[in-house]
Symmetry: C2
Subunit: 208 residues, 2 copies
């Protein structure tokens, strides 16, 4: 059922190629989207493309935490009800949104903008680690402050966490990481042995 | 695991809303795509949006069959090896591409640009049915020519086929439709009873 890769028009070919460059969008979906856009009123299509251009061209990042922001200081950093002495270090903007959606966190963030990955050619200087170090060094009474390393549990996440740990440990700030264990409501039967082992090692006092 | 629908920036909100207006793209996918575009070099993003704008603004349709085309006459209508007296009537550009990919068809097409649908507010005058009627009336010796109604098998497709049939039957052209029956390689067990019934009624001479 594969389409031959011949499109009836060069304009359509270019649009399909551009759309299929998006992650997770194949050429068939791209064709479907291109033909959908073709059926829309021209002003809708222009609105669509200019929203994307505006985002790319005019986006700003918070000067403190590097979160996407319309102001110089993001709404979290400028919120006086947030604790500026608890800094949660995350890889991306999406992680901030995930943690914010829990409603459980009242500190501030530091967005690295990626993760250390020799394979992908991303080193510490490509991330906002120096800015984080400066932020930590600027903390008054650092032993009463906390940096939460909320990075993913894979090799790259662990490497990045370790690198940051080495950069800031001398400051005396409290350095924590997210709890790892069984997911809430998870069945023992379906847990992988590494997670189960960690959950046993890091067992918590039972509070009924 | 649902994100709260609060984005950290108005620009991001607008881009996510624009992207999620595409069919089959939810808000989470739209956010993922927006953050992906944000990470790309600006010129890539501009190339992406301008390919879409060019398609929408500069697209042309074949003056004969209404297929998307870069020329006044599409590559199929202008191909002397195609039989201009066999006209396959389809709903959309995609249908032409599907049929072309079979490599089995050597006639020409007529793209309606939609299907008659009272619910969606699409009537005969919104489609290129008048152009089809004129094309059929212009045929010399119409009884030796053929119009294939290759429309979908649902109520709207059948309605459209019947409407076109009434418009062109007086011309004396041969009017056919696609064979309906079991799919090639289909198992009887999994065929729906309507299809199986039609396949029995329209049974073919066995040619081993």
């Amino acid at each position: 059922m594969a389409y031959k890769e011949t499109y009836p028009s060069a304009l359509l070919t270019e649009a399909v190629e551009a759309i299929s460059s998006l992650p997770g969008v194949g050429r068939r979906s791209a064709l479907r989207l291109a033909l959908h856009l073709l059926k829309q009123p021209a002003e809708n299509v222009h609105h669509f493309t200019s929203a994307i251009n505006h985002l790319r061209d005019d986006v700003r990042y918070c000067r403190c935490c590097r979160m996407i922001s319309d102001e110089e200081l993001c709404s979290i950093c400028s919120n006086r009800n947030r604790d500026p002495r608890t800094i949660c270090v995350v890889e991306s903007v999406r992680d901030v949104m995930s943690i914010e959606s829990t409603g459980q966190y009242h500190g501030v963030y530091h967005v690295l903008g990626g993760i250390i990955s020799p394979i992908a050619g991303v080193g510490p200087s490509d991330l906002s680690i120096r800015e984080l170090t400066e932020r930590v060094q600027a903390l008054e009474n650092p032993s009463g402050a906390e940096v939460i390393l909320a990075l993913s549990g894979d090799v790259e996440g662990e490497t990045t966490a370790f690198y940051i740990y080495r950069q800031i440990e001398a400051s005396g700030v409290r350095i924590t990481t997210l709890a790892r264990g069984l997911g809430f409501g998870d069945d023992l039967e379906y847990a992988d042995s590494l997670t189960l082992g960690r959950a046993l090692t890091n067992r918590l006092i039972f509070k009924p």
